[in-house]
Amino acid sequence: MSGIEAIVGAGLAPYLALIVFGFLPSEVWRVLGVFLSRGLDENAEILVFVRAVATTLLAAVVAKLLVFPSGALVLVPLWARLGAILFGLGAFFLARRSMIAGVVAGEVFLVAAATFAIETP
């Protein structure tokens, strides 16, 4: 029995575990958002505040992914992760706000730095 079967079991169990412990705890926020936004006009003042909170949260998620990475990103040093973000942002603005230029530039920087860091530890 592999490690995963010890936790979630075999057969349909992985699907059930996914729904109960992955899907529902995440989806509850979207459903709650549907209820709390009822009757709100698209120009309501409260939406300015709600958008500010959402934008802050998105930036916070990025910061967490960069500062506390997981998986293969752990192998890439912090300076390279932060440098790649700044490089991508710079390319985005230099290329007249082209999102694809920004993403590609950030990726090239990171993969190059990762190759360097992983092969010369």
């Binding site: 490690g3 995963i4 079967e5 936790i7 979630v8 992985p14 699907y15 996914l18 729904i19 412990f21 992955g22 529902l24 705890p25 995440s26 926020w29 979207r30 958002g33 549907v34 936004s37 709100l40 698209e42 309501a44 300015v48 505040f49 709600v50 958008r51 500010a52 909170v53 959402a54 934008t55 802050t56 949260l57 998105l58 930036a59 916070a60 998620v61 990025v62 910061a63 967490k64 992914l65 506390f68 990475p69 997981s70 998986g71 293969a72 890439v76 992760r81 790649a84 973000i85 991508g88 985005f92 999102m99 694809i100 920004g102 993403v103 950030g106 990726e107 990171l110 993969v111 990762a114």
Partner: protein, 247 residues
């Protein structure tokens, strides 16, 4: 829908709006979020999750960071209820995101289940792009466009999650880290592209700075909650003070 809505007027046909949304998604955003989740597919295969359930995780959870928490915690042997709690805390952003977007998509006569189904598509890519594109569109054109856009994103990403499952273990480490890096770099650039007001810019900067700070102060479970509330409130109040001065 067999009959056009009474206020449809001379608006573009529904199916052409759906296609326009799908086409705009496939021009870039759907691929970015899709490739970002290749890494999730690889991670899930690595912990022994079946292909079907792995792809279903994209269709159902539709949140890269939460999926990484789910499969990563399973790999680490974390108990399922604790995984559920971590996912719940990591997905808290969907609450303000949904509240902010739904007023743009709500139409007269829409049932509650339909609204919940509409809200299910909300994730960073769809949210940022919708907030950018929908406000200038006529109200009756928004939903079909949104559904075309969002379905193209989620279906492309589900397929690429499956590709990642098959690629697991075959990717060199630098490429694997590059795939995982798509999420932070794309989020950052999407935020920069979507920022129009001083409130947006303040919120982005505060989110970046406060998250690691609260991560140390309150721990990595409740840091997002604190960052969102504190940073969002400061950004909003600063923006309001600015508007008052101008007025």
């Amino acid at each position: 829908m067999a009959e056009p809505a009474p206020d449809a007027g001379p608006a573009a046909a529904t199916h052409s709006l759906v296609w326009r949304g799908a086409r705009d998604a496939l021009a870039l955003p759907a691929w970015v979020v899709g490739f970002a989740l290749v890494g999730v597919g690889s991670l899930a295969q690595g912990v022994g999750y079946p292909l079907g359930a792995t792809m279903l995780s994209t269709l159902l959870i539709w949140a890269g960071p939460a999926q990484v928490v789910f499969f990563g915690s399973l790999a680490a042997g974390v108990a399922l209820p604790l995984i559920a709690a971590a996912i719940c805390l990591s997905s808290i952003r969907f609450l303000p995101m949904t509240i902010a977007l739904m007023p743009l998509l709500r139409r007269p006569g829409q049932g509650l289940l339909a609204q919940i189904a509409i809200a299910h598509y909300i994730a960073v890519t769809v949210w940022v792009e919708s907030l950018r594109r929908l406000p200038s569109m006529p109200a009756q054109e928004r939903l079909p466009y949104y559904l075309g856009f969002a379905n193209a994103c989620i279906l492309t990403t589900t397929a690429l999650t499956g590709v990642g499952w098959f690629l697991s273990g075959t990717l060199p480490a630098p490429l694997a880290s590059g795939l995982l890096f798509i999420t932070p770099v794309y989020f950052t650039i999407a935020l920069a592209a979507g920022a129009r007001t001083a409130v947006d810019v303040t919120a982005i900067v505060l989110g970046f700075l406060l998250a690691p700070l609260f991560g140390h102060l309150v721990g990595r479970d409740f840091d997002l909650l604190f960052t969102g509330l504190v940073g969002g409130t400061i950004a909003y109040l600063a923006g309001r003070a600015r508007r008052r001065r101008k007025a």
